[in-house]
Each structure stands twice: as C-alpha cells, then as structure tokens.
Symmetry: C2
Subunit: 230 residues, 2 copies
C-alpha cells in the first residue's frame, strides 16, 4: 500500500509551502519510497483528524499514522533500515536535533518576517482569514507591518546564516559528501521561501546558495514540478 | 611516549581558559588517553614555533604535531579508532561541523562581550599588553567599553541559547545519551567563562545549566582541579 503524505497547500494544489512538509518530501525521496502527496489547507482540520492532532505533515503508512516531522523522520529511519539512512547512525540522529531546533527558532524566526504577507497572498481563500487572525495575534502586528523591514531582515538573515555558511565552505552538505536529514531540515526553510516569495535571499556566490542549488538538483521530478519562484 | 597538549594559561599555570584547548582536554579524556598538559602564554610564540604556526592547542603525539582543535579531534579519532568515538561515525563527524561553526561565531561572539576584560585581568603580566592592544584593535573599543553592557549581553546569551536549550530538553547530551565532540565544543565556551568570570550565565534550572553540570561531573581529576569560579 502506497504511503500517503498529507501536506499543506496554498491557493493551488501544487503550491506546497510548509517547511515541515518539505523535510518529509526530501526524506521520502532520500529513502527512495514512493508516496502519494495529499493537499490540505490550514482549515482542513477534518481531513487529518484521524491522526489525533491538527497539524501537517501527517504520514500514513499502512496501519501506521505518524505526525510531527521529526517523529516521521525517526519512523522512516526505523521502519526502513535497509534504505539510505537519514541520520547515519544513532550519533548522527542525536546530532540532528540541534539542526531542527536552530531551524525552527533562528532561521524560521527570521524568515517569517520576510514571508508572512507573501504566504497570506498565496493561500487558498478559505485559509486567509484564519491565517491573518492567528498570525496577527501571535506577531502583535498586522502581517504587512510585521514584514515591513525587508532590507533589515535580509541583513539579519545574512548574519544568522554565518555558522551555516562556514560549515558549507568546508563540506558540500551538512551531512558531509551527501545530504542527510539535517540538510533537509534547513533546506525546508528555503523551500518555504521559494514557494511564496520572489525576493532573492542569498548572493549567488554564497556557499549557502550553492548548497541550496545542489539540493534542488537532487529533487525528484514530482517535487521539482511544484510551483515555486526562482 | 606520552601525548603533550600545549594549552593557554593565565597568570597562574593552572588557570587554563582557552575554549579551543578545553575541547581537546575533553576529547583526550573521552578517548581515555593520558597526556601531559603544558602551560603556554599568548606571547610564548617560541614555545610552539615547532608546530609551524602560532596558536594553541598544539598536540604532540610521538612524531605527530597537530594544531587547530578540529584537526586535533579528527587526528585523535583516526589515530585511536579503538577508543570511544568522538563523532559516532562519518555522518556524526560531518554533522559536528555546524556545532563548531555555531560556537565559534554565535556563542563566542556573545560571550567575549562578557569576558574580554575578565580575561585581561587573569592574564600573566607578560600577556596583558599584547591582549589589550590586539583585542582593542579588533573590537574598535577599549576592553572595558566592549564589556560594559553586561545586562544586555546576558539577555542576548539567553536568546542565542534557545536552540541549544530545546535540544537539551529532549536529550541529555547533544550526542544523545552520552557526550560527543559536539558537546565538548559547546562546553569549551562555558569552561572559558568559568575560568575567568564570576558572573552567573545561566538560571539554575536552565536545561543548558543542567547539561553543563553533567559534563563538569565527568571531568577527570586533573581538569577538575584547575582554577575556576562557580
């Protein structure tokens, strides 16, 4: 039975923008597992209610239902040990946590100040009210105000990428000669950006941009055909 | 022949404060390798000239002379494969790079604003002029000016530790159930702080403080006896 991946979609079914869902797309391709992607919207809570929670990604693999991108990655690693490893062993798995936590807080925390209003513009009509209300409450600002300092946020982005840039100067991927889940975790944030925003985030010769290109070049056909800018 | 580790020392021979040297102390203890620590000062360039460069740590193991803490860790891993691993395999080794780059830039970059003038106060007399001049040129401020916003820097420290704190909420060490070189890399920064400063950096219930205590508890007798505050 084919694995199903419930993913967040925008106005169009083929605009997949959730950074957490992208981690799992990359992970499934890494594991060379076929899967059927299912488009969901923020307000489609009913469609994933069977998972016992209300957030995508949700992975359905036979009788197994797994939510939360880290839990899904660990599930895939354990359930498909003969496929290419996402972590390269228990130490690699433990060491991948900081990449998740750094991406979730530092990288997403900066990018959202560039993307929030673009995300809103690309949402399905039925999601727009929910997104604006919940995010404006969280940000204590309108989406437009929150995203108004683009120049400053781009400088901040350049600054926070300093350690990542250094690492990618010394090796092609965070995982070494080939990408691992740590790469996909960070890359999810850049996929989020390019699915909704035309703003160039990186100088073309930035080692982070070169790494991003290498990862884009590895995307399977299905993923490469999804809507994106740049 | 016993391994020699050339380390930076302060006014007293037993005040070892270099975060890079601490990484290697922890690494040697992890590998259960005996070593003879040799105290050096900033201005003792002649003492390590044999290494072909002018920075500690320098490790001498028989005919092998290795400098740079990352290169030393990789040397120990390769040269002593039967001892406990510092990386847990090639993936863990690659994934450890970001910990090094994050510590060198983000964590050290914040801590130096707390520590620079304390370091100066704890230096050997012969190092004080060199340190003040080189650092004041780098910081474009006097050491005292550079370290004058302690309250703000402590808040900044709390903020930048967010991803580390999250990771250490989900596992006892960055390396998982036991520490790896990634732990020692980050811990080196806290050893640097406690060797020269009385300022409490962390709330006692901070997961980062609990992790720091666990690592302190694993220090060998020789290291635990070195001068430090707190």
């Amino acid at each position: 039975m084919t694995i199903k991946l419930y993913e967040l979609a925008g106005a169009e079914d083929d605009r997949r923008f959730s950074p957490y869902c992208w981690r799992i797309r990359f992970a499934l391709e890494h594991k060379q597992l076929d899967f059927e992607p299912v488009a969901c919207r923020f307000t489609d809570k009913d469609a994933i209610a069977f998972s016992g929670q209300d957030k995508v990604p949700v992975l359905v693999d036979g009788d197994n239902v797994v939510s939360d991108s880290w839990a899904i990655a660990c599930y895939l690693e354990q359930g498909y040990p003969d496929r290419p490893s996402l972590f390269g062993g228990p130490a690699g798995q433990a060491l991948s946590r900081f990449y998740v936590d750094w991406t979730d807080t530092v990288l997403h925390g900066t990018l959202i100040r560039l993307l929030a209003s673009d995300i809103h513009a690309h949402l399905h009509e039925k999601d727009k009210g929910y997104f604006r209300e919940s995010r404006e409450q969280r940000f204590r600002a309108t989406l437009e105000e929150f995203c108004s300092n683009q120049t400053q946020t781009l400088q901040e982005l350049k600054r926070i990428l300093t350690p990542l840039r250094r690492s990618l100067q010394s090796q092609p991927y965070l995982g070494g000669d080939a990408p691992l889940f740590a790469d996909y975790t960070v890359m999810g944030a850049f996929m989020w950006a390019r699915s909704v925003s035309r703003v160039p985030l990186l100088e073309p010769d930035d080692p982070v941009a070169l790494w991003r290109s290498r990862l884009l070049g590895r995307l399977g056909e299905g993923a490469a055909r999804l809507r994106a800018y740049g």
